[in-house]
Each structure stands twice: as structure tokens, then as C-alpha cells.
């Protein structure tokens, strides 16, 4: 089994221990978990 990803949300979230967990059924929770920027981060 791979590690289980815990979706995270900054809004509509609930505290569970030290982790702020999101709502699995909402897309925003999954977007926020391991957020990858949509635009390439070009460092100059």
C-alpha cells in the first residue's frame, strides 16, 4: 500500500491532533494537498 495522502484545506477544515484535515469530498482539499503551482516557477 502506498502512503495514504491526507487531503488538506485551509478553509472548511477541521483540526485532528496537530493536523488540519480537509474535506475529502471537496476538490479544493485535494488541490491544496501537496500544492503544485500551475505556472512554472522560473528562477532567474
Amino acid at each position: 500500500m502506498p502512503v495514504t495522502e491526507l487531503p488538506l484545506a485551509i478553509v472548511s477544515s477541521q483540526q485532528s491532533g496537530s493536523i488540519v484535515q480537509g474535506n475529502r469530498s471537496q476538490r479544493t482539499s485535494w488541490i491544496n494537498s501537496f500544492y503544485v503551482p500551475r505556472q512554472p516557477t522560473a528562477i532567474t
Binding site: V3, E5, G17, R24, R27, S29, W30, F34, V36
Partner: protein, 266 residues
């Protein structure tokens, strides 16, 4: 979180290995690259050793979750079967990140139907996206602007109060039985109290996609459209629709809150 200390570009996260403990502090281990391409993933290294037959399978109390940046040979490399893929990055000759490709899984193998229309046959409607196994495709479909910042480097997309916002473009596909019978594309739409569909003052406005099937000389004509209606009950959308957002609008037509209600399907 970043494979390079001066480039914190990947967001906060948490995972749970088979020990059951939650881990939200992972350091990225950069294993270097000659090709200039690296694949980033999270993995339990002890479990990986078990899968490879290098560690006793009965042991479940060792928690060895790490985040790795490993050399890759292509922009769409194969990730270890028990890993959580995060991204592929492209580095230039002096080690700067020039491209980031989102590889996070959607945990779906196909797009679920959001509507079923029974009308001389059974028609089903679902979001039309290129690869349902990748989260990024769902993220961009009918994108609802984010009203909160993920980090100082990833600011919000709208500030309140505001008069309107852009809802992202999306596409809806239809099947009859198992046969694809049409795709409706909905462009990026500006939404305010002056648009159609638009927002109503002093109300919670719900935005969603509705579908219908009409017939022309026996041939089905499918259609999908954005609809906005007001509600008293937040979070409850009409059946057979694709929920998108709720916007709370005050008496002078300013948006005071905007909540993304798109489903994750999981």
C-alpha cells in the same frame, strides 16, 4: 517544501504510512540528476524494501516516509508502485528549476457521471477532461478562484468585497449507453450581478452546470449550461447538476464570500 532550500514551491501536506501515524514534516532528499529531469515523490522506504523482497513483510511498525527527488529519464517517468507521485521538475545547467509538471494522482480511473437523463434512452453527462487519473485536470476544469492564500508565494486569486469573478472554462461530455454522443464546451465566464447568468443581491447564489437532452427528428441534441440560482440552504445543490460554487452577495451587489463546491468524486 522543496528539493532546494531556497525554492519552497510545493505546498504543505500530510501522509499516513501503514504504522497509522500522521506525518506532516517531510524533508526532500535530492539525489541529484545528470539528465536535468527529476521526479518528486513521497514513499515509505521500508515498505518499498518489503515490496522488493529486501525486508521482512510482517513488520508494520517501522515508519520511514521520505520525500525524494530522483533523476528521471523523461518528462512522464514511471513512479514506484507504492509511491505518492508529486511532480516532475526540469532543471537548467546551473540547477535552477525551470519547469514544474504536476503529477499528483486523482485516485480516479474514469470521470464519474454527475447527471443521468432518462428520455427515450438513458443519457449520462460527465466532465470532459484529458486524463482523469491526474489531479491537475480536475483542478482546472470550471476553476473557481481561490479567495485565500496558500502561502506568501501563492496568493489568493480574488479579494473581497468584489463585484465579480471569472469562472474557468470547462467541458461536458455525454454518452448514450456506452456511446459518446457529444461534447459541450463552456468558455471562461465572467460572473457579476450584471451578467447572464448572474448574481442576485442579498442572497446565497449557487452556480452549477445543468444538462438537458432534446430531440430533433428522432436525433438527440445534448446541451449543458451554467446556471445560477439563489438558495436558503447552503451546500445543497439541485440533483443531476455539477456543483461549482456558492457566492454570498450583499445588498449593494458586492460578493462577500465565494466557496468552491466542485466535487472531488472521492
Amino acid at each position: 517544501m522543496s528539493p532546494f532550500p531556497w525554492v519552497p514551491f510545493i505546498g504543505y501536506e500530510a501522509v499516513q504510512p501503514n504504522t497509522g501515524f500522521t506525518r506532516d514534516h517531510l524533508g526532500w532528499q535530492d539525489q541529484g540528476t545528470v539528465t536535468g529531469i527529476e521526479q518528486l515523490y513521497v514513499i515509505d522506504q521500508y515498505e518499498e524494501a518489503q515490496v522488493q523482497g529486501n525486508a521482512p513483510p510482517q513488520v508494520t511498525y517501522i515508519d520511514s516516509v521520505v520525500a525524494l527527488a530522483v533523476e528521471a529519464n523523461s518528462l512522464s517517468p514511471t513512479f514506484p508502485t507504492i509511491s505518492l507521485p508529486v511532480a516532475v521538475i526540469v532543471l537548467d545547467g546551473v540547477g535552477r528549476i525551470q519547469q514544474v509538471i504536476d503529477q499528483r494522482p486523482s485516485y480516479l480511473s474514469s470521470v464519474p457521471n454527475f447527471a443521468t437523463v432518462v428520455n427515450v434512452g438513458t443519457f449520462k453527462a460527465f466532465e470532459n477532461i484529458s486524463d482523469p487519473t491526474k489531479r491537475v485536470n480536475f483542478q482546472n476544469s470550471f476553476a473557481v478562484p481561490r479567495s485565500y492564500a496558500l502561502s506568501p508565494r501563492i496568493p489568493q486569486e480574488v479579494n473581497f468585497p468584489c463585484s465579480g469573478f471569472f469562472l474557468g472554462a470547462g467541458s461536458v461530455a455525454f454518452t448514450q449507453g456506452n456511446f459518446p454522443i457529444g461534447v459541450i464546451r463552456i468558455p471562461t465566464t465572467y460572473i457579476s450581478n450584471r451578467t447572464t447568468p448572474g448574481l442576485t443581491a442579498n442572497a446565497i447564489n449557487q452556480g452549477y452546470i445543468t444538462v438537458n437532452v432534446a430531440f430533433n427528428q428522432g436525433n438527440p441534441i445534448v446541451n449543458a449550461a451554467l446556471a445560477i440560482t439563489t438558495t436558503q440552504t447552503s451546500g445543497v445543490f439541485p440533483s443531476n447538476t455539477l456543483p461549482l460554487f456558492e457566492a454570498t452577495v450583499d445588498s449593494v451587489n458586492l460578493i462577500r464570500n465565494l466557496v468552491d463546491w466542485r466535487p472531488s468524486y472521492i
